[in-house]
Symmetry: C2
DNA sequence: ACAAAATTTAACCAAATGGTTGAACCATTC
DNA sequence: GAATGGTTCAACCATTTGGTTAAATTTTGT
């Protein structure tokens, strides 16, 4: 969350987060945010100037919930496999609490072509971390520690297995006619199954 | 695509598809669709009555590009593994041509809670196909044909590995600082790598 | 050839939407 | 306790947006 804030500012941020994550930027009405925060619409502008400014705060916060986990998991001094285990379990734990995060971020970034993400990525220092990790994967492949695999493909594997179920839940639950409790149980067991599957797919 | 259509109707549908897939329902302006189709805004309403009606056509078409592949791949008379290979290669081939499809569908379905998807799923007869496939997976696990795995987890694995990279492309490309051509190449090689990874993860 | 039907257009409309304003309210300080 | 500066609100505003209309144009059936 961004900074210490007055109670009103807090209420606005909580409300804005809820509505923006649910409806996206274009689908959000300032009046709805104001209602949700139980304040006057003018307050939104008093504290945040414009819809776009308010949105940028929420989107930045959202990305900042997600990026540090990637950085922390991949930049430890562990070997490749344990790093990936950390990634999977840390992300799954986060997404069980905040399932709307990925779809929101992906959708908004797909609009915002470039610019905004680039800034965040630079500020969060993702790129060198990724590069180092990629090298580690290549070396682990050469030394026989893991199956020799393109580092990008590997990263895609791990993120896909971890994040996608939370994005696709409504569609898959409907198509396969799965009751909510069953899908929830599947998600709860997800970490161990992904780790097991990943280990098997990476055996040299 | 839906039905035979007059040239104007065609132009509208092409334009509407482009804009809706790019901007989503809430982010789309009827005037922009009209401009893209090089027609008067009134024509949109003459042919499709309302924004919502026009949108429903586009969303339905989009889902109908995606569902039949799932059905066809899973309801053949092949064994589990070849079915999954079909799924991966058919979907990857589609998404290489139509990369915006999944994010668009997921985003809009997440708004539309239930109703709409349910109709489509019923009409497309997904649910019995899924059920039969789930049973086949359980049996294949028991007979030692594949590693014994929860069918839902397996389905999530396959769809995740196949679909997610197309959704997350902008974010990952930026974070890892990957040039477009490299990412494109990764996607081109995706089918074989996913199949290889999947086979390894399913070995009994 | 001509009338009826379908198609296209420009002008228009009402509602919704992001944003502003000026007055009121409140807390702190002198 | 009045002045001060920050906070809140109701009313208002300009623009945008989805949608309509009535007339003009083109197409079609006879």
């Amino acid at each position: 969350m961004s900074e210490k804030a007055t109670p009103t500012e807090e209420k606005i941020l909580r409300a804005a987060e809820k509505i923006f994550l649910e409806k996206g930027y274009a689908g959000t009405r300032m009046q709805v945010v104001a209602d949700e925060a139980e304040i006057n619409k003018a307050m939104l502008h008093y504290y945040f100037r414009s819809k776009e400014k308010l949105f940028r705060v929420i989107l930045t916060d959202a990305v900042n919930e997600v990026l540090p986990i990637l950085i922390a998991s991949l930049s430890s001094d562990k070997k490749v496999i344990p790093k990936l285990h950390d990634l999977v379990s840390n992300y799954t734990a986060l997404l069980l609490k905040r399932p709307q995060l990925p779809l929101f971020i992906m959708h908004e970034l797909s609009q915002n072509q470039g610019k905004f993400v680039t800034d965040l990525a630079l500020r969060a220092n993702t790129q060198p971390v990724m590069l180092t990790f990629f090298q580690q994967v290549v070396e682990a492949g050469e030394s026989g520690e893991v199956y020799p695999i393109s580092p990008v493909q590997l990263l895609l594997h791990v993120l896909s297995l971890t994040v996608f179920p939370f994005i696709a839940r409504p569609m898959i639950a409907t198509m396969a006619n799965l009751p909510d409790e069953l899908f929830q149980q599947v998600l709860d067991e997800r970490t161990q199954e992904v780790i097991r599957f990943l280990d098997a797919g990476l055996k040299p």
